[in-house]
Amino acid sequence: MTRRWSLVLALIAAGFATETRADTPAITLASTTSTENSGLFDHLLPRFTEATGISVRVVAVGTGQALRIARNGDADVLLVHHRPSEEAFVAEGYGVQRHDVMYNDFVLVGPSKDPAALRGLDDAAAALARVAAASALFASRGDDSGTHMKELGLWAAAGHDPVAASGTWYRETGSGMGATLNAAAAMGAYALTDRATWLAFQNKGDLEVLVEGDARLFNPYGVILVNPSRHPHVHAREAQTFIDWLISDAGQDAIAAYRLDGRQLFFPNAK
């Protein structure tokens, strides 16, 4: 009987035992789904690990959640794309310093039928005004993410408050970019998305890019070290190595080299 129990306990202990090998140094990177889903990390991180021997564990969630994780000290470094939130993060003492890393842009996608006649516009705010005027279906992130903030900013610039129409033509999915695009594809709705997620997305259905090029659609990414004075357990040295590599020529070249279907998704812009 005791032999049976020892076997059971051994099995359970084995379950707990497979932790990340403590011998290889590792850092936890809180980032967003746009960088993860686009495949950038699968391209970038092995290069970093090879150069430095440090492995990177990526927790990819919405910008809001990534900031929360970093604020709690559950991650060592933060890579997101909403500048105001990033700067607040540093100002409040949770982050050491914000560095530019790369940028791409947002695009407005929609059904090929284009009921609101957006195709070819280069003014994003005007495009959204047309969506409202036509009461055309629009799928919003609705989750306080960077993309969502950008979208709300554009609505404000268009002088329109879409939330009043929430539940009718304005559909707030409260979800990530992928889920929102799935919903948009199924409903035949317009949506604002970052280009990297869009290019990597495999369920485009009838959707296509209709509006791009507006300077307001600029989408910059920033990287921040979680403040070790706030959270002493943070792997500050390894995390700083990561940041240094990202903004170094090696990292920047690696970012520029990443292609999906022959297209460059991210443009390095570290100073």
């Binding site: 359970i12 084995a14 497979t18 564990r57």
Partner: protein, 234 residues
Amino acid sequence: MDDFGHAFALAFEMIARLDADLLEIVGLSLQVSLSAVGLAALIGLPLGAAVALFRFPGRVAVAALLNAFMGLPPVVVGLIVYLALSRAGPLGVLGLLFTPAAMIVAQCLLVIPIVAALTAQTVADLYEEYDEALRSLAARPGQILGTLLWDGRHSLLTAVLAGFGRAIAEVGAVMIVGGNINHATRVMTTAIALETSKGNLALALGLGVILIALSLTINLVALTLRDAARAQHA
């Protein structure tokens, strides 16, 4: 509709070439869920038996709680465990967040009520049959508990399998406390969620097919073994 056909094709293809990534997430899924169920059984079986057998103040409340918690939303449990294990939380020093251990803890909490509630029912039924005989033999309460658990082992296996089904299929808890980290905490359900968010619907469905097949296989094996043992012991 051709997504379904595509999904099955993808599933077979991944299994046939023993795709390394697939094996990794299947392995981790099994490791996490089996450990969680093992731990939950260790706690839930005696707990359920105790609720069935012993009169103690608050017994009815405990029994009601166990039954109610069979329907605990996984995402809520995940959130609670996240808040507990976060560096900003009470157990942050353990550094367990975003590791398989955290996932095991979260799933264990989900499974314990199922195992305990079903065990309580089985043991209560058994006790009606065995009550006089065991008291006649002067068995102590702890001994009665152990005897009934062992004698009811064939029915209790169903309770454990129900718990396993819950564990292997849930995504809300392990997503939050594990972080779906590639090569570290990615399991089948979180991989399916990821592929869905990437729009790779056929692949997501294919993984789903494999997950269901896995669960089916485990249940078949367990029940066959049980029936064989039962035929032996009647």
